[in-house]
Structure formats: structure tokens, C-alpha cells
């Protein structure tokens, strides 16, 4: 049945959709906060990619108890727990960098930073000061 086939692979298709949207945001959008949100989309799609094969239909969460025989695979859960915490650490560091960039350049748009960086470099050659301190 086509519908069943569709359900069987729906998890993977949505995962891949999230993955390519995340990739698109990271590459196409110049705003740095948006880029970090896109990176988050990409990360969560990887979580789904790991968790989907570990699920067994009709199974229960891997907490051992009497009366239950079928448990889902606990190993992907452990790996993804680690990944989530590392992901939020990355996000925090990235946002701190965004705040710092906003201080130095007055903007968080990539295009404006590039054009400003060129201007500052010219000034730099004249005055020989650092771009961050020039403002």
C-alpha cells in the first residue's frame, strides 16, 4: 500500500526537510541570530535522524518494569542527550560572539559587516588602530 510506504519513510523525509531548511538558512541568510537558529534546526534534524530508527512500534520507553517485554533502543537516547547539551553550549557561545560583533561593528548583518570591515581596514592603514577599538 502506498500510504503505508509513505508512513514508513515519513520520519526520514521530514528529517531531511528540516536538515536542508537549516542548511539553507545558514548559507542564505546574512543575519547572525537567524543563522544560529538555522544551525539549531540542523542540529534537531540530526536528533530525529538518530531517534527514529531506535523506536520500535508497540514498544515502551527503556525503563525496565514487570509486564513489559518490548523496549525501544536506549543507546540513541544517550547519544542525543549529550548532543542537546553540547548544542546549547554552542548556541550560547555563538550568541556571545554575536553580542561582541554588534559592539564592535554596530550591526549583526553579514553584508554590512563586510563593507564596514573594508572601511575600517582603510582607516586602520591610516591610523594603525584595531577595528574593535576604532569605534
Amino acid at each position: 500500500m502506498i500510504f503505508e510506504e509513505f508512513i514508513n519513510y515519513y520520519n526520514y523525509f521530514i528529517t531531511l526537510f528540516l536538515m536542508s531548511s537549516g542548511l539553507y538558512i545558514v548559507v542564505a541568510r546574512g543575519n547572525m541570530v537567524k543563522k544560529l537558529v538555522g544551525l539549531g534546526l540542523f542540529q534537531t534534524s540530526v536528533y530525529l535522524l538518530y531517534l527514529s530508527p531506535g523506536k520500535i512500534l508497540g514498544g515502551t520507553p527503556p525503563i525496565l518494569a514487570e509486564g513489559y517485554e518490548v523496549y525501544s533502543n536506549p543507546l540513541p537516547h544517550v547519544l542525543i542527550l549529550t548532543a542537546i547539551v553540547v548544542g546549547v553550549a554552542t548556541l550560547g557561545l555563538g550568541l556571545a560572539l554575536v553580542v561582541r560583533i554588534h559592539e564592535a561593528y554596530g550591526t549583526i548583518e553579514e553584508d554590512e559587516i563586510f563593507s564596514k570591515g573594508d572601511d575600517l581596514q582603510e582607516e586602520d592603514n591610516k591610523n594603525s588602530t584595531l577595528p574593535g577599538d576604532a569605534k
Binding site: 512500534l57 527503556p62 544517550v78
Partner: protein, 185 residues
């Protein structure tokens, strides 16, 4: 069957939210949408039997990340600029990568099957050994803290390093503010 159905509905909602995130230019809207996204993905994880992961994602993804993003918006700007040129190349790259990945997915075993290779070796082994060897009924906890304790140690190191990095980046800022204020006096 109902499990698969709930899963399908939640994933469809997730796809809608993602389209919203891509299209919205107001950054506050993007942050709110990403909070909704995290909550939805936590529900999907619940359906996928990953209860510990769902709890972590709901607290860390929907809670902490949103707070961090809102704090950054408070310190920076709230609106995204329109791009100078239409992003054709990124679109092409994203669609190309997506198509290649779909091609690779077709050979994977179907969703929820108990007899796929990933559920044959290590997983059942942990399930069988956890109770007699560690005495903890929650297998995720026993694997995380006991069998893969070094992984968790490495994770803590990463978080510690990130914390130091954030402190160094933001401390420099406070010093600069002080010198500015002294300059005003």
C-alpha cells in the same frame, strides 16, 4: 498504528513551523517560532519513546535557548535586513543536498521495525545487562552514567569550555563600558 499517526501529525506541524522560521524576518517572531519548534520536537521525542531526551529538549531547547536568544535580541537588533540579491545558489545547494539524502534514505529499514540492524546488537545487550550489573531500572541513566561515563565527562568539558569562552567574551565588554563611563566623567 495510532503511534505512527500521532507521529505523522506532529512531524507535519514541525514542517509548517520550519517554513515559518525560514520566511519570517522579524527576529522576535523567529525566536518565538523556534520555541514552539522545540516544544513540538520534544513531543515527537515523547512519541518516539525517548522520554529523557524529551525532558531535556523541553527544558534546554524550549526554555534556555529561548532565554539566550531573547537576551541577545535585547542587546542587538530585532529585525533582519532584506538580502541584496536573490539567494539562488544557497537554494540550489540546499535542494541538491536534500535530494541526495532522500536518495540515500530509500534503502533504510522502515520506521518502527523491531528487526532492523540498529535494534539487534548493542541496544538489547544494554537492556539485558543494565538491571543485573548496575541495578538501575532506567537504562538510559545506567548507560549515560555508567557504561558511557567518559562520554559524559567529555560533554561536561565541552560545556565548561563554552562557559569560559562566554565569560571571556562578555567580561571584556564590561571593562570597556567602565572606561567609557570614566571617559564621560
Amino acid at each position: 498504528m495510532s503511534e505512527a499517526l500521532i507521529n505523522t501529525v506532529l512531524l507535519s506541524l514541525l514542517a509548517c513551523i520550519t517554513i515559518g522560521i525560514v520566511r519570517t524576518r522579524n527576529l522576535f517572531g523567529v525566536v518565538v517560532l523556534s520555541g514552539i519548534y522545540s516544544l513540538l520536537i520534544a513531543s515527537v521525542m515523547m512519541v518516539l519513546d525517548a522520554v529523557d531526551v524529551a525532558m531535556t529538549e523541553a527544558s534546554v531547547g524550549a526554555g534556555m535557548s529561548t532565554v539566550l536568544l531573547l537576551g541577545t535580541l535585547y542587546l542587538t537588533k530585532g529585525h533582519e535586513m532584506k538580502a541584496f540579491k536573490p539567494p539562488l545558489l544557497p537554494l540550489f545547494v540546499a535542494i541538491g543536498v536534500g535530494a541526495m539524502l532522500v536518495y540515500g534514505t530509500i534503502d533504510l529499514p522502515p520506521f518502527g521495525a523491531a528487526d532492523q540492524p540498529v535494534n539487534q546488537h548493542v541496544g538489547p545487550d544494554y537492556l539485558a545487562r543494565s538491571k543485573p550489573e548496575t541495578g538501575i531500572p532506567n537504562v538510559v541513566t545506567s548507560v549515560l552514567a555508567s557504561y558511557r561515563g567518559f562520554d559524559t565527562l567529555g560533554e561536561t568539558t565541552v560545556v565548561f569550555t563554552a562557559g569560559i569562552g562566554i565569560l571571556m567574551l562578555l567580561r571584556r565588554r564590561r571593562k570597556k563600558d567602565d572606561t567609557l563611563r570614566e571617559g564621560e566623567k
